[in-house]
Amino acid sequence: MNIVVLCKQVPDTETKIKLVADSSGIDVEGIKWVLNVYDEYAVEEALKIKEAGKAAKVTVLAVGPKRAEEALRTALAMGADDAIHVEDAGIYGADSTVVAKALLGALKGVEYGVILCGKQAVDDDMAATPQMLAEMLGIGQVTVVSKVEIDGTKVRAHRDIEGGAKEVVEGQMPMILSATKGLNEPRYASLPGIMKAKRKPLAKKTLADVGVAAGDAKTKIVGWTLPAARQAGKVFKGTADDLGQRIAEIAKLLRNEAKVF
C-alpha cells in the first residue's frame, strides 16, 4: 500500500495580509511561504504509517506555481519518498473545484490505499478540496481527523466534531483523510534529510497534462477587502487598591454601554 499526501504552499500564519493597490488580490511581496501547517500533520502521519510497516511508499503531491516546489522539498526532507508537482504560474488562488480536478488528473496511474491531506489550507480556508476529490474519485472520506488506525485494508479514523466530541468512522481503502491539529507532532527535517531531499524524484506536470481546462472553475473572486480596524477601546490601568473599582466600572459598561448582559 502506498500513501499520497496532498500538500499546499501557503503564507506563514504570522503574515500580515496586505492588498495590492487595485485591491485585486493580496500583495505577495515579502511573504514567507511554507508548507500548510495541517499538511505537516498529514505528512507526519503518512511517515508514521510507513515506519510501522503498513505502507511501502509516501508520495507528496502539490498543485501550485514554481515556488510550491519548496513545500514539496520540505515534505521530502521530512522523509517522503517522491513528489509530483502540477506546476502552473497562475494557479495560486484557483477555485477549489479546479484544484481538486488537477489532483484527480495527477493521481491517474498512481497506486494508493490512503490519501492524506490537511483539513484546510490556512490561506483560503475553504476546507473543501479533500471532500471534492473524494467525490471525484468515488471513494470514502473522513475530514478533521485526529487519530488514524490502519488494519490491513481497513481504515478507522477519529473525526473531531463540535464541543470536543469525536465520531469514529470506518471504511475500506482507498480512503481520503484530512488531518487536524492533535493528530501527531510533525518532525523537523534533519540536515541529512534536507540534503537527501534534493536528490529525491520530483515529477512535473502541467495543467494540460492533468486535464484541467479553461472554464472548469465554478466560482470567481470579484472583490477583496481588509477588515475595518477595530476602534481602540478603553483601557483601565491602576493599582491593586482600585482593582475592584475598575472591574465594577467595566462590568457596568458591559451592561449599560455594550449591553451584553
Binding site: V122, E135, S146, G163, V168, P227, V235, G244, I247
Partner: protein, 322 residues
C-alpha cells in the same frame, strides 16, 4: 423564479439555530430571485418539521425520514437527488462540522460552485454574491458563481434569524437512500463539555499562556458558568498543555464570532487575533499594558488575571442578580 434551498441541520429533532438564521437569509435571497424558500431535513422523527420551519420562512419542507445517523455519502445522495429535481439557484448549508464535511462533496455531485463559511452576501440583480473571510479573517473576498447551483456554507451567528411569523410549511417526502456508505460512523465519543461549541457560542471566555497551568482554567470555568460562556484558549495555552486542542481559538484553531469575548492572559498574537477579531465586544485582562490584545479590546483591564477574574465573576454575578 429561482428557488433557494436551505439544508435544515437538526439537533435531535429540533432545528439548530443556524438553520433558522439561514432561513432568514434565504428569504432575502428569494426576494431577489423571485423564488421560494425550500428546506430539506434528514433524520428520524421529523413529523411537524413544516410547523417548525415554516414560520422562519420555508414555503416547503422536504423530509428524508428514517435516517439514523450521518454519513457524508448518504446525505450527499439524498440532497443531490432533491437538487437535481428542484434546481435551486442557491443552496445554504451551515458551516458546522457536518455542513463543512458535506457541502464540497454535494457541490461536485451536482456540478455547483462552493463558497465556504460565508459571513454575508449581496444580490447583484438575481445573482448571489457571497462574502467570506480568508486568512482566518485577515482579509475578505466576494465570491461570484459560474457554476449552478451556488452552494454556500454559512458561519453561525453572522446572519440573525428573524422572529417567527406566518404559517407552517407544506411537507413533502424525500427518498432516503440507504445504501451503505464507503465510510460509516461506528461510534460517537461525547465531548467533555455540554456547552455550545466555540464556533456557535454567543459568549466565550479564553485563557492564554498567562494561565500558567491547566488547573488554573477553573477560574475561567467559574466566570463562564456565570455568564453562560464556552471556554476557549490561545495556541500558546494549548501547546503548553493547559487546554484541549478543541478549545483553540485562532488561525490554526477555531474562528469564532461571539457577542462577548473575554481574553484572559492572552497577549494577542496575530494568529489569535485573526480568529476572534469579529467578536462584537472584546474584554481583555492582561498584566502587560503593551500587550497587542489591548489594541482590539473594547474594554481592557491592566491587572493580574488571578486577582481580577474572580472579582470580575463576582461583579457580573451581582449585576445579573440586580
Amino acid at each position: 423564479m429561482s428557488n433557494v434551498l436551505v439544508f435544515a441541520e437538526l439537533r435531535g429533532t429540533e432545528p439548530k439555530k443556524i438553520t433558522l438564521e439561514m432561513l432568514s437569509a434565504a428569504k432575502k435571497i428569494a426576494a431577489a430571485t423571485g423564488g421560494k424558500v425550500l428546506a430539506a431535513a434528514i433524520g428520524k422523527g421529523l413529523a411537524g418539521m413544516g410547523a417548525k420551519l415554516g414560520p422562519y420562512g420555508a414555503a416547503k419542507v422536504f423530509l428524508a425520514e428514517g435516517v439514523e445517523k450521518y454519513s457524508t455519502e448518504g446525505y450527499a445522495n439524498i440532497l443531490a437527488n432533491l437538487i437535481k429535481a428542484e434546481a435551486p439557484a442557491v443552496v445554504l448549508i451551515g458551516a458546522t462540522a457536518l455542513g463543512k464535511d458535506l457541502a464540497p462533496r454535494l457541490a461536485v455531485k451536482t456540478g455547483g460552485g462552493l463558497a465556504s463559511d460565508i459571513i454575508g452576501f449581496r444580490m447583484d440583480g438575481a445573482s448571489f454574491i457571497a462574502k467570506r473571510p480568508v486568512f482566518a479573517g485577515k482579509a475578505f473576498v466576494e465570491v461570484a458563481f459560474t457554476g449552478a447551483p451556488a452552494f454556500a456554507t454559512v458561519r453561525p451567528n453572522t446572519m440573525p434569524a428573524d422572529a417567527p411569523a406566518g404559517a407552517a410549511a407544506e411537507e413533502a417526502a424525500l427518498a432516503a437512500d440507504l445504501r451503505a456508505p464507503k465510510a460509516a460512523i461506528v461510534e460517537v465519543v461525547a465531548g467533555a463539555s455540554s456547552k455550545p461549541d466555540l464556533t456557535e457560542a454567543d459568549r466565550i471566555v479564553s485563557g492564554g499562556r498567562g494561565m500558567k497551568d491547566r488547573a488554573n482554567f477553573k477560574i475561567l470555568e467559574e466566570l463562564a458558568d456565570v455568564i453562560g460562556a464556552t471556554v476557549g484558549a490561545s495556541r500558546a495555552a494549548v501547546d503548553a498543555g493547559y487546554a484541549d486542542q478543541s478549545q483553540q481559538v485562532g488561525q490554526t484553531g477555531k474562528v469564532v464570532n461571539p457577542t462577548l469575548y473575554v481574553a484572559c492572559g492572552i497577549s494577542g498574537a496575530i494568529q489569535h487575533l485573526a480568529g476572534m477579531r469579529t467578536s462584537k465586544v472584546i474584554v481583555a485582562i492582561n498584566k502587560d499594558p503593551e500587550a497587542p490584545i489591548f489594541q482590539v479590546a473594547d474594554y481592557g483591564l491592566v491587572a493580574d488575571l488571578f486577582d481580577a477574574v474572580p472579582i470580575f465573576t463576582q461583579e457580573v454575578k451581582k449585576l445579573l442578580a440586580s
